[in-house]
Symmetry: C2
């Protein structure tokens, strides 16, 4: 047996998220089925983390174990022939048997796309539409959120997490074009909906719906109601996992 | 009663085409439902023509009749609030009662997107991937296909059409970027799958799979086997209807 690490891109629009669920279309389910069909080998695929329904990946990472007889350099090609148009293997490489896509991850970068322009049907599932935003105000807010904090206020109440301390190393903000803003958040780990709430907090701060005091209170008290809105999933992309 | 003409954009990926079909998601069905929900008024929507499953529209045109009491200038806004992300009303205006979205149409332009580059999951349902193409060879082929012809060889065998004579006014070809080619076909009317087969013929000609003699034979004999392949629906966009 050997361990294979896949780098995977997917358009999350038509998936009920990463995780396999009975009777629902999931990224994990599609890839596990493709592996079984291609190599007559039933496997469990372990991702760096789940992504919710509608969330995209530019480079999700996931590992599985397979018989040594399967040539590593054929895996990408063979799987891509079978997989549907909205999921694609970008690379497949052998890793050590101690490697774990989730537990070996040191940090992750997520990207969030905001659009202040007109809705376009071809991009409606790829970004979130908002009112006009002030990049320098968002930057102010980003600085408050960067660092090691208890992010309980920035987490869905449906989480099973017990420890809410995470480190956000960096929040980058830039305009891709006149109406398109990119937010890139890098951290050592993220709670459920955390990136979507961090971005929602920056948006609400920019719109004057939250002030500095309230954000500091969110970080201190852990009260969800002190942080900003949860942005919709379709603007979110898992961009990079660092090992 | 008054007649309203809608200009509509849709991403065809998740629709079983324009036409309403029992139990299947269609563009016509979504919009008729939205009209009923918004204005408590059951209507029939008549498009400039059907589009197949997976085919997109930058500007489909469709008319319906509604009570004079409904303010025309509210229709676009109200429908867009109800419609799902992949369909959008671009405009709604009052037209004369003799106007018919299909029968009043004088010509139409379709656009087809070809990509000779690497597959990208976010664009996989928006264009067709092909081998490297030669634009000047495609242009040669386009000239053979332009004009008034019997296009029986360029039509699906499932058609119910009896008359196959159509006029292709113009075929424009250009590179949008290094790996992306746009084909724009304007004609007075199109048979079932006709644009997809015209583009498939240009692609096959460029790849050396068809020669000039064979294309002239297709136009003379009406034999489907003499024309090129049927390109997939996801590269096709209804771009403009001329009245």
């Amino acid at each position: 047996m050997k361990r294979i690490l896949l780098k995977i891109a997917y358009d999350g629009t038509n998936f009920h998220g990463w995780q396999k669920q009975e009777g629902l279309r999931s990224v994990q389910g599609e890839i596990e089925q493709a592996i079984e069909r291609a190599f007559k080998f039933s496997c469990n695929l372990f991702a760096s983390g789940r992504t919710d329904a509608g969330v995209h990946a530019l480079a999700q990472m996931a590992h599985f174990d397979i018989d040594d007889a399967v040539p590593t350099n054929k895996i990408k090609l063979v799987l891509n022939r079978i997989l549907p148009p909205d999921v694609q293997i970008l690379s497949a490489k052998k890793v050590s048997e101690n490697f774990h896509a989730r537990f070996s991850a040191k940090k992750k970068t997520y990207q969030y796309l905001l659009c202040t322009g007109k809705k376009n049907v071809f991009e409606a599932n790829r970004k979130a539409y908002t009112e006009e935003l002030d990049l320098s105000k968002m930057q102010e807010c980003a600085l408050l959120l960067t660092g090691e904090h208890d992010f309980k206020a920035f987490c869905s109440s449906q989480t099973s997490a017990k420890d809410f301390v995470r480190t956000v190393y960096d929040i980058k903000l830039y305009k891709k074009s006149r109406h398109n803003i990119v937010v890139e958040v890098t951290g050592n780990g993220f709670l459920m909906n955390m990136v979507r709430i961090l971005v929602g907090t920056m948006v609400d701060y920019s719109l004057g719906k939250l002030d500095k005091k309230r954000i500091l209170k969110a970080l201190e008290s852990g009260e969800r109601s002190c942080a900003g809105r949860t942005m919709p999933p379709q603007g979110l992309y898992l961009k990079k996992v660092f090992y």
